[in-house]
Symmetry: C2
Subunit: 200 residues, 2 copies
């Protein structure tokens, strides 16, 4: 095989194939593409990988990824630090920030409780959340995990830990997505939309 | 956005997004995945990119990618160096090698003539092919470019250069793919299959 003509290319393809959603065929295509890049571009790419890995770590407070000691959100005085939105991962923080409506702060769990995948509560950043709630004045914790079995279980687990501390724990509303078509909504979503109906 | 919480992550995602077939959303997912890799794995990945780029170059004879001076195929005495199979790119060499039937050698053009993309014949490894044909004993050149407009044009262009030298120039056979279903074959393929029918 031509791949075996150049061992470094095979090795590079194997690295690409480890990335999520990239199979061996795509990995080979990407490896060939790297060959067509200029040497400066290839070096910049390699450096970006190392740099991201060495300089990015978790924010001391909210556990979101940042290259500073505190992330810009925790560092921002204008944010309401009495409201914490608990999310599964940093991507969810981006999603909420895109709404430009949420003014509170976040807490990133870095996963959801999932015994089948061997993810127990102690593997998530739950103790950091409890410490945070104990050490500062927090009025409301919004459980913003996905509406999946794991997301619901994690939300329930954390709410049971927080409620005895006298903190208001809320959950995202579930219903029809805006722009969605009633006909195509699944039964559970439709039931939730009916159950949580509001007076107009 | 959480992405802007960590500039190195944004930069890494931008590098991933330059790869073919990878959009900004996938690029962000890959960047987050790199964060979840061990530091050793991330470094190995980065090194593989640089190593492939610095050690892999074109074989002196056939222009296929290799990390040696000559690729294993050109270096192999058992290969029939009187038959050259001309292909568009290194991936095509792999495809032919997988058949385990072809015993000749290759010549990689690194592209096809395509005036619309500003790829003129001088940008391909055509002069290297002519030199090769002039300097050694070559009996047959098989034009194995894709059956596309560019592939056909390139095959015709090269065959016109080679024929005056008294070399046999052949083209791959086109017809029904093995395992294919007649009903689903397009008109041109079916016409080619009919035109090139063989006695049984």
């Amino acid at each position: 095989m031509a791949e075996s003509n150049a061992l470094p290319l095979v090795e590079l393809a194997e690295h690409f194939a480890k990335l999520p959603g990239i199979g061996m065929k795509t990995a080979q295509r990407l490896a060939y593409f790297v060959m067509s890049m200029t040497e400066a571009d290839a070096k910049a790419f390699a450096e970006a990988i190392v740099k991201a890995h060495t300089t990015v770590h978790c924010c001391k407070i909210c556990q979101n990824l940042t290259d500073k000691e505190l992330c810009p959100i925790c560092n921002d005085d204008r944010r309401d630090s009495e409201t914490i939105c608990v999310v599964e991962n940093p991507k969810d923080v981006s999603a909420f920030e895109r709404t430009r409506e949420y003014k509170g702060v976040y807490h990133v769990l870095h996963g959801l409780i999932s015994p089948i995948d061997n993810v127990t509560p102690d593997k998530l950043r739950i103790k950091e959340l409890l410490q945070r709630v104990n050490n500062s004045e927090v009025k409301e914790v919004i459980m913003a995990t996905n509406p999946t079995v794991e997301g619901e279980a994690t939300a329930m687990y954390i709410s049971k830990l927080l409620k005895p501390l006298g903190i208001k724990v809320t959950r995202l509303a579930f219903g029809l997505p805006i722009g969605g078509i009633l006909e195509y909504a699944d039964e559970v979503t439709l039931f939730k939309a009916l159950e949580n109906r509001n007076e107009i």
